[in-house]
């Protein structure tokens, strides 16, 4: 009888547990997304009272953002410029390193791989502090170039990891087949392997862009008045005069990053890079 009773009750139990789990997960997602949702909502508030839900809808703070010279400079002439440069440089340098590691090394590969991942191990604020002292010691002014170098360090490990993962998945006999059909080694690489790792290169570039575009910890130390990035400008605005222009600027950053990640997810598995 006891067994029979169990059999009747059993199917409903996992079902209930599953619904409890879903509810819990939805609440956790709300917690995770709350600050972003609030920032987006506040950016459309016609007043500057930071209320939720906003009492109306206006684009006033977007107008304020696009007419603010400092915000424009921070967004377009510093953050965007630095992030695009970092995306290109990190993908080229890191992509070359990945090919070197995966295709050309057997001895010493593990050691060099570890070396290329070290920037992840070092806390970002220490990279920032070390670079600031280093630049000051060398009497190099803290400029856009210094910032690009710092962001390259943050981005290269992501690129090496993403492109290596792409390369490891490729059967080398494809290149060998091309070579036996008369292609040179270089031709075989460019015409056979390159198209196959295009998607990992693209995701690597996207990740490099995002890492640079949203960095605050390195930029807080390294960025000078002439190279104030958007996150650093937002930071100082929060400290000195918080108004919803910050929310408008933040919303634009969130949209840009979400769009790029959506592209990355289409061409690549997000989890490989992280």
């Amino acid at each position: 009888m006891a067994v029979g009773g169990e059999a009747v009750r059993r199917p409903s139990r996992p079902f209930n547990a599953w619904w409890i789990l879903i509810t819990v997960v939805v609440v956790i997602y709300l917690f995770l997304l709350a600050p972003l949702l609030i920032v987006v909502a506040v950016s459309f508030d016609p007043t500057d009272a930071f209320r939720f839900p906003p009492p109306g809808f206006s684009l006033r703070w977007y107008v304020a953002f696009f007419t603010s010279e400092t915000f424009m400079k921070a967004f377009f002439r510093v953050s965007l410029l630095v992030a695009l440069t970092v995306a290109v440089l990190a993908t080229v340098i890191g992509g070359m390193a990945a090919v070197g590691l995966v295709r050309f090394l057997t001895r010493g590969r593990a050691l060099l791989e570890t070396l290329f991942l070290t920037p992840i191990v070092v806390p970002e604020i220490l990279l920032g502090a070390a670079l600031f002292l280093y630049y000051t010691r060398l009497k190099v002014s803290t400029s856009v170039a210094g910032l690009i170098a710092g962001h390259l360090l943050l981005a290269i490990p992501y690129v090496v990891r993403t492109v290596s993962a792409g390369l490891i998945g490729i059967d080398r006999s494809l290149e060998e087949a091309a070579m036996s059909l008369g292609a040179s080694r270089a031709q075989a690489f460019w015409k056979v392997t390159m198209p196959l790792i295009r998607s990992s290169l693209l995701s690597a570039a996207i990740f490099a862009f995002i890492v640079s575009f949203s960095d605050i910890n390195v930029a807080l130390f390294v960025a000078g008045p002439e190279s104030m990035t958007l996150p650093v400008h937002i930071f100082s605005q929060i400290v000195w005069q918080p108004d919803p222009t910050i929310a408008a600027a933040s919303t634009l950053q969130i949209l840009l990053i979400a769009a790029l990640l959506a592209i990355a997810q289409r061409v690549f598995r997000l989890r490989v890079a992280l």
């Binding site: 997304l33 009272a49 050309f104 990640l261």
Partner: protein, 283 residues
């Protein structure tokens, strides 16, 4: 050198150059400066001393270290508690919602932390959403920021995905059949978690915890904006000593201590991650 070897060097050289010039040399410089003597007029003089490390044992700095460790541990705990159900759900999902759920997990991670902290300031600030609700309900406004809880909330939200991703990988490696067998033998959900899921997903939990902890203890922006003067962590000390007090030898010594600490935690993290991928490979 063979053609093969020359090509390898050419491919790796630019990356290695960046690492040496902008990572290894600056970090080595920090270590050296940390043993130099502070001079109010010239910032440092190259006279070797261990005084900077000695200064660290002053009760104030020990207090800051304790706050840092405490915030790190609480954040790790909160991430584990919130991250487990999320990771379990994602690991067991087969539907087309999985892509969307992963996207919603990774997007906040990629948005600048300063923006997410700004969101929390709008929620918890003096005239924030919670306080206006409290006032509307007839209760007075409270200072919800400037305490350890606020900093832990901010960091937990910031670092939760770092816990979920390795944990999810670990749970995916547990065959569903194991879970079903436990359930068929009459295990309650709690027993299933404690006796089956938790022990089998321990590597993921450990690597997620180490990652969250190591990033949490080097936090700067979160305690600066959400903790103010009341909750100061080692990162804030480094920032102030480098940019405000200009005591670079002392700043360097704190940086070295923080570096040694996080590198130790991160090495442990990479080890567990490697063990995890080996296990996954065999499964």
């Amino acid at each position: 050198m063979s053609r093969h070897g020359r090509l390898a060097v050419a491919l790796l050289a630019p990356g290695l150059a960046v690492l040496v010039v902008f990572l290894i040399v600056p970090l080595a410089m920090i270590v050296v400066i940390s043993f130099f003597t502070y001079s109010p007029t010239r910032i440092w003089v190259p006279v070797p001393t261990a005084e900077n490390y000695g200064k660290f044992f002053h009760p104030y700095y020990l207090g800051v270290t304790w706050t840092t460790v405490k915030v790190g541990l609480l954040t790790t705990l909160a991430c584990a508690v919130l991250g487990y159900p999320l990771a379990y759900m994602l690991a067991r999902m087969r539907s087309r919602w999985l892509g969307l759920c992963l996207f919603l997990l990774v997007t906040p991670l990629m948005v600048s932390s300063v923006i997410r902290i700004f969101g929390w300031l709008v929620i918890l600030g003096k005239k924030g959403i919670v306080n206006s609700a409290l006032e509307a309900a007839g209760l007075g406004a409270m200072d919800l920021l400037h305490n350890v809880t606020a900093v832990v909330i901010g960091l937990t939200e910031l670092l939760l995905p770092f816990m979920v991703l390795p944990l999810m990988a670990s749970i995916e490696n547990i065959p569903r059949a194991v879970e079903e067998a436990a359930r068929n033998l009459g295990a309650t959900p709690l027993q299933l978690f404690r006796r089956v899921l938790l022990p089998l997903s321990l590597p993921g939990l450990v690597s997620g915890s180490l990652l969250v902890y190591s990033v949490a203890i080097s936090a700067l922006v979160t305690p600066a904006l959400m903790g103010g003067r009341k909750v100061r962590m080692l990162g804030n000390l480094v920032y102030d000593e480098v940019l405000t007090s200009l005591n670079w030898p002392f700043a360097a010594s704190i940086a070295v201590i923080l570096l040694v600490f996080t590198v130790a935690v991160m090495v442990a993290y990479l080890r567990t991650l490697r063990a995890l991928s080996r296990r996954g490979g065999r499964a």
